[in-house]
């Protein structure tokens, strides 16, 4: 078939940047709907709140790019938050090494999921479902079911105004690093290739299994860090946080234009996907919409956003 040139540049622009356009429209709508929305305080709160979901969605994106899925991220948040808090309070470890140790432990759990998927040929859905209950269970064991309050001068420094809110800065850096990885490194290329046709990649002399293990490991590290963020904001490590966070992360990736079959997905657009979800929640809170209808509305907005993706990408194919 002959390659066709796109006729209409405006249409092409709309198709190419639909995620960003949805986001902008939503931003404008929110500003109009509530005078409290476009204020420094609300935006700063949003940024603090969304630092965790954004990096977790990035981890999910890399798993989804390989054609897998990671349902364990919510539980790994709880694990990261609980483990870090226990290390600080019960063992008196300085909070920086405590966080790093918790992240390394999460890495091992993620690798375990990855090994089940790559070597034991389990489906990502099943392996990560098992890890979801395991990690949550471990978190409860570590905290003995009680929230662990951490001392001032430890985790709370991560959200301290005087240090320019470190978690926001760290998240921005992580997003940029993963954008660069996807765009410019052989690793990013191979992750996408594995999701497109893992047999072809294996026959081209690439050790596919190692890459599959690595994406689950990355996802676990970022999830545990996200859990630490939440602990920092509440000054409390807890085994009950992050429930359902995996679904938000998947929704963000999908709104960002990724294919759940693998091989297609974008870092910045995933971030926007997470922020779209955040804006919806935020504006409904500001307008005092009760929580149950909020869920219903959120669900429909996810459908609308993804439907728009599907429709525009169909356009792309038939133009």
């Amino acid at each position: 078939m002959t390659k066709l040139k796109k006729g209409n540049p405006i249409k092409h622009f709309l198709i190419e940047y639909n995620t960003y356009i949805i986001f902008l429209v939503l931003l404008i709508v929110c500003t109009i709907l509530s005078p409290d929305f476009f204020t420094a305080m609300n935006l700063r709160n949003l940024a603090l709140q969304q630092s965790a979901p954004v990096i977790i969605a990035i981890g999910m994106l890399f798993v989804i790019l390989t054609g897998g899925i990671d349902l364990s991220v919510g539980s790994l948040m709880a694990f990261g938050s609980s483990f870090a808090a226990v290390l600080i309070m019960n063992y008196g470890i300085h909070f920086v090494p405590a966080i790093l140790i918790a992240m390394c432990a999460a890495l091992l759990l993620g690798m375990f999921t990855g090994v089940l998927v790559a070597y034991a040929k389990m489906q990502g859905f099943v392996a990560s479902l098992a890890m979801m209950t395991i990690a949550r269970g471990v978190a409860f064991i570590l905290t003995q079911g009680r929230p662990i309050r951490v001392d001032e001068g430890t985790l709370d420094l991560l959200v301290n105004r005087n240090f320019h809110f470190p978690i926001i800065i760290i998240s921005v850096i992580i997003v940029i690093i993963f954008f660069l990885i996807q765009k410019f490194t052989a690793y990013g290329r191979i992750v996408i290739a594995v999701g497109s046709n893992s047999t072809a990649v294996q026959l081209a002399g690439i050790r596919v299994k190692r890459y599959i293990v690595s994406v689950y490991a990355i996802s676990a590290i970022l999830a545990s860090l996200g859990g630490v963020y939440i602990a920092a904001r509440a000054s409390t490590g807890s085994a009950t946080i992050g429930m359902g966070q995996e679904l938000d992360a998947i929704a963000a990736v999908v709104i960002g234009g990724a294919s759940l079959a693998g091989g297609r997905g974008f870092v910045f657009r995933t971030v926007i996907g997470a922020l779209v979800l955040a804006l919806i929640g935020n504006i409904m809170n500001l307008m005092a919409v009760p929580s149950y209808p909020q869920d219903v509305i959120r669900g429909f907005i996810i459908i609308a956003a993804v439907l728009l993706q599907v429709l525009t990408s169909k356009q792309e194919q038939t133009v």
Binding site: M1, T2, K3, A193, L203, A204, G205, G263
Partner: protein, 497 residues
């Protein structure tokens, strides 16, 4: 044969965007006729048949069935009018039984209750009409061989009272004996008055089966001829639009030292005590029926599948390739037989596909890809094998079959192979692209690369190979030198007579 037509497609035109896919193409078929439709890939055969089956809408022209103007807007219209198309990829549900698949459109009668016994009896009836009593209507379709699946697909169409049956490359996946069986079915249907449109790249089959041939080229109508009034040479000229003096170009390769020796290789059921050797600059053919163990031998050698025993000597050193990565590092390449499932990432760009096995060339020691260098490199390689494409950023599935295969080959050329295994390198590509691939194989051999070519097409084996290994049921059943090569000898070896 009656003189009035069963189906007439008159002056059909179709455009995609600004590109003309069909321009005033006409096609006509009589009851009880086998009418071959041929043309290179991209000539418009599939588009024409998709219009007939209701998958596409025509822009201009008309379709007449039994002399009556037919409106075909959806696939259901086509089925209701008795037009059935069997594509290369079957439309079967592998987890359902044979009977369920054959009667699938009778399952939703609206009554909610299915008479399974009756369903099975009806399916059985249809199967035995075609002479396939051995297929169990209760068996899962996924457990059947490809040939039987094809029979099920044909039965499914016949229960819908298909009067026009389109077969798109039906023999591409069949073995020699299975092809003979298919031909029997076709002749039987023909005698019952079914009109059969037969699409194939294999000219031998067309001459054996068809009454008439319609030739398309670049979306245009070239002509319609009676099969018994034309020879192969003239037919190819009509298809390609130029003289193809020689299908198999000359090779001036110097056959050098032995580079690969495989001794007593065992791997699974289909690789039993296989031994052979390959020299630099040599094209070594692997012939045999589908399922004789040729692909399995190469996969075991290349380190994809595990080996049980055997000795491999490669460039004078004894070595066992444990995984493809190791083989590729030593300059061994494997072009797999199924480019869609195992060779290419269809949804990714031509650039990414071309450099997949040789990414190290455009990557620095920190793992960062130099896109500019990579793009230039891709253009250079694809240019050197005259691949037609728009931009390296286009998806591979925007290319024709022949050009897709060239991208799959380019991947191994980029990897600088010293020895390359080509598994059915010309499967599903048209005559013009075939010749270019042969030329490419010759160029590789002339550079001193050792080439192993697995092929089920005997003319290709005879035209291209210096030496041929024949396999049968997992063992080497013969080795033929260039002088001994003939279809006769190959068949005898392959069948074990």
């Amino acid at each position: 044969m009656q003189s009035n037509s069963r189906l007439e497609m008159k002056h059909i035109s179709k455009q995609f965007g600004g590109v003309t896919a069909l321009d005033e193409v006409s096609f006509e078929i009589k009851p009880g006729e086998v009418h071959a439709l041929i043309g290179e890939n991209g000539a418009g055969k599939s588009t024409l048949m998709k219009i007939l089956s209701g998958a596409y809408q025509k822009d201009k022209g008309e379709i007449l069935l039994e002399g009556q103007l037919a409106k075909i807007n959806t696939p259901k219209d086509a089925i209701d009018l008795g037009v059935a198309v069997i594509y290369q990829e079957f439309m079967l549900a592998p987890d359902l039984t044979v009977a369920e698949n054959i009667m699938i459109d009778k399952l939703s009668t609206g009554k909610g209750i299915i008479n399974w016994r009756k369903l099975k009896i009806l399916a059985k009836e249809q199967l035995s009409k075609l002479g396939f009593d051995e297929i169990d209507p209760g068996a899962k379709v996924g457990s059947l061989s490809v040939a039987y699946q094809q029979v099920v697909e044909i039965c499914k169409c016949l229960t819908r009272n298909a009067k026009v049956l389109v077969l798109d490359e039906p023999t591409a996946v069949l073995t020699f004996t299975e092809i003979q069986k298919l031909f029997e079915i076709i002749n039987r249907l023909k005698n019952e008055g079914v009109s059969i449109v037969y699409i194939s790249h294999r000219l031998e089959e067309i001459f054996e089966l068809s009454d008439r041939i319609t030739i398309l080229k670049d979306g245009g109508y070239v002509g319609c001829v009676n099969t018994n009034e034309i020879d192969k040479h003239r037919l190819v000229t009509m298809m390609v639009g130029r003289e193809l003096n020689q299908l198999f170009p000359d090779r001036h390769a110097k056959i050098g030292e032995e580079i690969l020796r495989v001794e007593a290789l065992h791997a699974g059921k289909l690789v039993n005590d296989v031994s052979f050797c390959l020299r630099a600059g040599e094209v070594l053919g692997f012939s045999g029926l589908v399922g004789a163990g040729r692909t399995e031998t190469m996969r075991a050698l290349f380190g994809v599948d595990p080996k049980e025993s055997g000795k491999v000597t490669y460039f004078g050193k004894e070595i066992i390739f444990k995984e493809p990565k190791q083989a590729i590092q030593q300059g061994l390449g494997l072009l797999s037989e199924d480019r869609k499932k195992q060779g290419l990432m269809l949804e990714q760009s031509i650039r990414i596909n071309t450099t997949l096995a040789a990414m190290h060339k455009a990557v620095n020691k920190f793992g960062i890809v130099n896109h500019k260098k990579e793009k230039e490199y891709v253009k250079e390689i694809l240019g050197s094998i005259s691949t037609k494409y728009g931009s390296p950023e286009d998806n591979v599935n925007s290319l024709s079959g022949g050009n897709q295969q060239k991208v799959a080959l380019a991947k191994w050329i980029a990897a600088d192979c010293k020895c390359i295994i080509l598994d059915e390198p010309t499967r599903g590509v048209d005559v013009g692209a075939k010749m270019e691939i042969y030329k490419l194989i010759n160029e590789l051999a002339e550079k001193g690369v050792g080439v192993i070519m697995i092929s089920s097409e005997m003319p290709e084996i005879i035209g291209m190979c210096d030496r041929v290994i024949v396999m049968r049921q997992g063992i080497v059943s013969g080795e033929l030198t260039r002088d001994e090569l003939s279809e006769d000898n190959l068949i005898k070896s392959a069948m074990g007579v």
